[in-house]
């Protein structure tokens, strides 16, 4: 059945491997994926360890519904203390790895220690082997997967791997699978690299018994229709997330030239319509009928003819909006480079844009850049920086350390211009006009992040009754809610609600595009309670699932607090408060975030969580969630 997958403890220093069943009680408490990983992380990572030292632990997992009938049940979660922020490290990716890991018999891997020389794991039908990785060390993300499949003689093997950036301990290196599926943010690739672990190859042909097969099939049809009938899903299914760019740029929501403007002029060449010309069709993750991943072939330039996937909205911002570049070729090439080197393209673009501002302000000079003219709009420089960061060459080596460490090294007042939260670069969206979105990035447990709690539907001017309907289930809420995205009222609840919703999704192993994220009508707690029952037999009410997510999020908070996080880390760069927006529609022009109102929002957000004014969970909250005795070392 779907609940009999095991947990494996793998010690790379000693070569010891131990497997255990996962008790149902732990399933009910944390489900799986990110939820159980966060429990494990709090229990297995000792306070204060060096994130790149052998004492850090890597967690790889599948959500509890992965590979079952609940639409896009494809997600892999990767956790560990973040080499970038020093707080919660957590990455999530689609594709086909997690389903294969489940068919091979495993739900959770706890990877400890450090191998003496490069190794990889080979997991197949209940067996785990540690193998020599000398043939693949130094290879790109795409090469590695092809070589391993050949070496093991099976083209169906699914592989989670790091690229050269992970080996070089670039602090925002990704874990990757397939062509572009990326476990990005927080540097989980560097964590695997620090353990000399190049990749994990999986192949499984073991049954996952579906508890109620006919009901699961029939309900899946309804569930999928609920998702695919939303207009945004349909648009996404044709051109992917770049569809978001056009309107966002028009109203003035794109961070441009690092943080100097909020709209990219002359962006026709990098918009969805232009990308559509090189799109050869869409691709889906396991079981997904949204199929948001574009397949493309680079049409011109030195990389002509190269196949890759994407680019996403994030790439448009990272490689075009922020560095002020406007050529499609730059976008396609940089996206490809980030994929093969295996690094977080958001950090690469964002930090390069920051360095460009420092160069234009004279804080960085030609000497620092080895003669590279690091000016906004220099497309060649953007491409060159992808290579330098991945290979840790010159200025690239400094940026590869992440924004905060780089700012320390560069000195002067470089930190003033760094757009980050908790040491993680912000997405290219400009949140000065949207307090709810600003609150989300300021408070996210893994640092500045739009996939932790973004209430994207806040931008849709939904009528109040619709908002009530969404935000009053599965737990009651009768506080304020307003349709105006410029408002500060009621937004903390929305952020809290989405945070809990996205945590639940990550425990279940479903894609965020299949819930209330971009589509206001997407399925959530109510529907999950049913799919969970039909597929696994677990009876959990919508409120039970909400509570699991709350519990898991509190484990993340406890982890961060233990690592020294304080209230002042849930905050934005001063530029959000001091520099008004200059472009966009009238409602968005001249906007800043109001310091006082923002501080009040943070307080309210803490209250919704049951945290005190310092952001510390109260003893009652921990007791209510049954995590007042952690670490409890059950697993």
């Amino acid at each position: 059945m779907a609940l009999n997958r095991k947990i494996a403890y793998i010690n790379l220093t000693t070569g010891e491997i131990e497997t255990k069943p996962i008790p149902i009680s732990m399933r009910k408490k944390f489900l799986g994926g990110r939820g159980l990983d966060m429990y494990l992380m709090y229990n297995h990572v000792k306070p204060g360890v060096d994130p790149l030292g052998p004492d850090n632990v890597a967690f790889v997992s599948a959500g509890i519904l992965v590979s079952t009938l609940a639409s896009a049940t494809a997600r892999t979660h990767i956790g560990g203390k973040s080499p970038l922020t020093g707080y919660v490290g957590s990455a999530n990716m689609g594709g086909f790895f997690a389903p294969e890991m489940r068919w091979a018999g495993f739900d959770h891997l706890v990877i400890k220690g450090k191998a003496e020389k490069p190794v990889y794991l080979w997991i197949h039908n209940g067996e785990i082997e540690i193998r020599d990785a000398k043939n693949i060390w130094g290879k790109t993300v795409h090469e590695t997967q092809q070589i391993v499949r050949e070496e093991l003689g099976d083209r169906e093997i699914k592989i989670l791997t790091i690229g050269p950036a992970g080996e070089k301990l670039v602090r925002f290196a990704n874990v990757m699978t397939g062509v572009k599926d990326a476990g990005g943010r927080s540097g989980m690739g560097a964590l695997l690299g620090s353990k000399n672990l190049k990749c994990i190859a999986c192949r499984g042909t073991m049954d996952i018994k579906i508890a109620h097969p006919q009901e699961a099939l029939d309900y899946n049809k309804t569930f999928i229709t609920q998702i695919t009938s939303a207009k945004v899903s349909q648009t996404q299914g044709k051109i992917g997330t770049p569809f978001i760019w056009g309107s966002t740029n028009s109203w003035g929501g794109i961070r441009t030239n690092n943080f100097q403007y909020n709209q990219l002029e002359y962006s026709d060449d990098i918009e969805a319509e232009s990308l559509d010309e090189v799109n050869i069709g869409m691709a889906g993750c396991f079981g997904c009928q949204v199929h948001c991943r574009a397949r493309y072939i680079i049409p011109d330039g030195p990389y002509k003819g190269v196949y890759d996937e994407g680019p996403e909205y994030t790439a448009q911002g990272a490689f075009c909006g922020e560095p002020g570049c406007t050529k499609r070729n730059t976008l396609l090439v940089c996206n490809h480079l980030a994929n093969i080197y295996g690094m977080d393209l958001l950090e690469v673009g964002s930090l390069t844009a920051w360095a460009m501002e420092l160069y234009e302000k004279g804080i960085l000079t030609d000497k620092d850049t080895d003669g590279l003219e690091l000016r906004f709009g220099n497309d060649e420089a953007m491409i060159e920086m992808c290579h330098r960061i991945a290979r840790r060459e010159g200025l690239g080596d400094i940026l590869a350390e992440g924004g905060l460490r780089a700012a320390k090294k560069i000195g002067k007042d470089s930190i003033k211009y760094l757009i980050h939260v908790k040491g993680m670069s912000n997405l290219h969206s400009d949140e000065r006009g949207t307090p709810s979105l600003a609150l989300g990035i300021a408070t996210g447990s893994r640092g500045s992040d739009h996939l932790r709690s973004r209430p994207a539907v806040d931008l849709y001017h939904l009528p109040e009754p619709v908002l009530r309907k969404i935000y009053s289930t599965p737990v009651a809420y009768d506080g304020p809610l307003t349709s105006d995205y410029k408002d500060y009222e009621g937004k903390p609840w929305q952020v809290f609600w989405h945070e809990t919703c996205y945590e639940a999704v990550d425990c279940l192993g479903i894609c965020k595009y299949h819930t209330t994220f971009l589509a206001a009508t997407g399925p959530n707690f109510e529907e999950w309670s049913r799919v969970l029952y039909y597929n696994t037999g677990l009876e959990m009410s919508p409120v039970d699932i909400w509570t699991v997510a709350e519990r898991a999020y509190n484990m993340e908070r406890l982890f961060n607090l233990r690592e020294g996080l304080t209230r002042k880390d849930d905050w934005l760069n001063d530029r959000y408060f001091d520099e008004p927006t200059t472009r966009g529609i009238p409602a968005v022009q001249g906007r800043t975030i109001d310091r006082e109102k923002f501080a009040k929002m943070i307080g309210e957000y803490y209250e919704h969580h049951g945290w005190d004014e310092n952001g510390v969970p109260t003893p009652e909250t921990l007791k209510r969630l049954g995590i007042d005795k952690e670490p409890s070392h059950v697993l």
Binding site: H142, I208, I210, P213, A216, L217, C285, Q289
Partner: protein, 165 residues
Amino acid sequence: MAKVLMIDYEKCTGCRLCELVCSVKHEGVSNPARSRIKIVKWEWEGRYVPMSCQQCESAPCMSVCPVKAISRNEEMGRVEIDYDVCIGCRMCIAICPFGGMSFDTLASKVIKCDFCDGDPQCVRFCEPEAIQYVDAAEVSSVKQVAAAEKFTGIMQKVAAAIAAV
């Protein structure tokens, strides 16, 4: 008029939901190794090709079967295995040019597409309509022949890839 599965690989997004629903429908489990349809992929070129039994008129599996366990059900338009007769020698798997027959190691039997007895689940769930369940006559229209010609080339590549496994 009997119906057939018509596959347009250019519409396939490679999601493998068809494999999942096929194995759930027949065995009550999620396990592509027990699915009657298989998506063969060239990930590094972005090409995905759904492969299942073609329900051939003069099926090679039918002629190769030493105990005559395979027959054609004209009413359903499908090729069927009589498990009471089948001895599990797997000759049919070896000869099928499309990889339409496979061996279920858990149940120790050869398996193939049975159109889910007239309600094909792969078709039901494939939103891009890469698989359709249509009248056999429709497939022979000029347009389909043209598509099929293009398909033949890729089918040979697929067959070669399957043979190499």
